[in-house]
Symmetry: C2
Subunit: 415 residues, 2 copies
């Protein structure tokens, strides 16, 4: 590892500042932070990946366009409302927000990316969302990174941020990130937002390449409940303030950046699974020995998304029978009598059969908060890893009803 983890988040790289506010988006009487603004003081290049859900929130559509134009300088995010399934009103609200932010930062509207997270199908309460923006624009601080990580939380129980640094010649380069997750985490992408900043100097083209690679090995490999959100967004801003020479694709400094960026995203992705709604177990699923990469992915995802398998993790039951049955319906090419299944290093199922194993030892592994399940098809050399969690009775309880939000929206005259 040629980079090191340091304390910090999105404001750790040079020339990035943030501000947050409490607008009562979901509930006018609540005082929690729910607006965040992140700005690069100097021009930068931006890159992003977005949900593959065909139902996409207005801010996703807008940010995609602005990121393509390649001229981003600021990110404005709200929690409490996803501005999804809000039609022309939602599109208009997103444009108005971007315009409003741009005016107060002396930027153009297409230099602002927008992210919203929260309930679907209700228009944004613009009369509460817009007024704080002016004050936020005038109180941007180098020290507000952690507050930003807090402002984007929805059902998260803790804020998530990280920073790393590495050397390119004499220059110190930093990468910082914050993310929010919780429910609806699934390949590909999640109900998640992740904002990443870096003072690395890099072309948009190479940044895009590095981001795609890092996302495919991190956010696209996690699952909590098999659902895919309308708002998933990863945004990366690189402002070059570190002063390094822009790398070529084959340079050592680009490899270094890729390595550090991939680490940052994977750490954030794992943090989302660990803090999934009412999650008690973090399970790494390694599908190995597959004939093709696609087969390995099918196996890992089928296991990661099976309600019965996830319930067995919640019960700390080393139930390889449920795992092999999910492998069986994954549609990967397989031979039942070759399949091995391991909990950490302990084999539970050998050639499709109960292995000679101390079940109590298996059970102790399944009782740990984190463990690894390896499924070896023994048919080839392709492999895939997915990070998953259990499903708990409390998850269902927690997600039974959002009806209170509708009642608030009715009170607000929005529906």
């Amino acid at each position: 590892m040629s980079f090191k983890k340091i304390k910090g988040g999105v404001c750790t790289p040079k020339k990035f500042r943030a501000a947050t506010a409490s607008a009562g988006i979901k509930n006018p009487s609540a005082t929690r932070l729910d607006l965040a603004l992140l700005v690069s003081d100097i021009p930068c290049v931006g890159s992003g990946t977005f949900t593959t859900n065909q139902v996409q929130a207005a801010p996703v559509r807008l940010s995609k366009k602005h990121i393509q134009d390649g001229n981003i300088r600021a990110i404005f995010a709200n929690s409490g409302n996803a501005n999804a399934c809000t039609g022309e009103v939602g599109t208009h609200d997103a444009q108005t927000s971007a315009q409003h932010v741009a005016e107060h930062l002396d930027l153009k509207a297409d230099q602002v990316a927008l992210c919203s997270t929260g309930v679907i199908g209700l228009p944004l309460p613009m009369e509460r969302l817009l007024p704080p923006i002016e004050g936020m624009a005038s109180s941007l601080k180098r020290t507000s990174g952690t507050d930003m990580a807090k402002a984007i939380m929805t059902s998260d129980t803790c804020h998530k941020e990280i920073a790393v640094s590495f050397k390119v010649g004499e220059q110190t380069v930093k990468i910082g990130a914050c993310a929010k997750g919780a429910g609806m985490i699934c390949p590909n992408m999640a109900t998640m937002l992740c904002f990443i900043t870096t003072d690395f100097n890099i072309s948009k083209k190479l940044l895009d390449q590095a981001v795609q690679h890092a996302v495919s090995g991190s956010f696209n490999c996690i699952t909590i409940d098999g659902d895919m959100s309308t708002n998933d967004t990863v945004l990366v801003l690189a402002n070059g303030a570190a002063g390094n020479r822009a790398p070529s694709q084959k340079s050592k400094s680009f490899s270094l950046f890729q390595e550090a960026l991939s680490f940052v995203m994977l750490e954030m992705a794992k943090a989302l699974v660990r803090d999934g709604e009412r999650v008690t177990k973090f399970v790494t699923i390694n599908a190995i020995g597959a004939r093709t990469a696609k087969d390995a992915q099918k196996v890992a995802e089928a296991v990661a998304n099976s309600a019965l398998v996830k319930a067995s993790w919640n019960g700390e039951d080393p139930n390889w029978g449920r795992i092999i049955h999910a492998v069986g319906y994954s549609q990967a090419y397989l031979k039942e009598n070759k399949i091995d299944i391991l909990y950490n290093d302990l084999i539970a199922c050998s050639n499709g059969l109960q292995a000679e194993v101390d079940m109590e030892q298996l059970r102790r592994i399944a009782a740990q908060p984190e463990f690894t399940i390896t499924i070896n098809l023994k048919l080839g050399s392709a492999a895939n890893t997915v990070y998953s969690s259990d499903i708990s009775p409390e998850y269902i309880d927690f997600n039974r009803s959002e009806y209170a939000y509708w009642k608030q929206a009715r009170k607000d005259g929005l529906v």
Copy 2:
């Protein structure tokens, strides 16, 4: 409807008899029925459909072969143990069981179909399974249909049987069925067993055709937890005892039989969903207005299998936002701003947006034990229906651990 529902089950059609026994398969000290034997007193034709899971239980592999040979006369079923993932031991145990049953019925082993349901990965306790067979063979009764429906139950809370009759000329034809379901119900097929008998006289070829058609509109349209079992089996025996002339494909009597058989299977399939593990809601999902049948199926299945949608049903929350988000990731061709979503006849989402609707009225629909959700893509005329259920905290609780079975198996010296 040119057939009528009558009281009865698998022993209602002429010349079928059944017997049951309590062998303590899962638990030696339990006294519940767990073995069932169903026999046609005269030669018959048999047809069946089986799980598409690539990991298939030994009895599935054996029954498939015997059904293909077309000479079936008896079905022997056990609950408490699936005889899946049991390798050569399992294959041998299945063969031994069939042989044993055949001997006591004066049949050949390949005239016996086998079905097992229960825990995966443990060998059958043959020392408890075999001894009751002799007594069962000698106590077959015309009145044991209901007992058979009870003997195949696992986590079912009630037994499921049905019978219908219709006229072909002077002859009265009957169809009877029993089924067991509970968890792991998913297109295609389920952790389910369904045994159907009829005294209709029909060729194997036409019976196969009728069964395929009926299964595709019933058991392949239900889902409880998105999982697919290693043991799903539908078996149909037709012994011709009604004395009708064997129909041609285009005859009226064949249409009549098809209609009645489809009804029987659909009723059984719905009964399985209603009695799904810890289920409180039965939800019919109609995807309509799709460009292709495949698209309609993708939409209905994505909604039917979404953990978040199912949690909202449990919470009696008319949460169309979660439904449209599942529609969005279904990979069907769609336009967000055309999608309508209805709860029964009440529109909740119109053209992708919150409809003008009395939310309390929507909420009352979502509070009913059974309701219909219609998703209209308004892009074509293809449609698909899936029957689904909520997911409850109690479902997760119920499925947390099967470890006690392992302990019993260890006691039995099986693992």
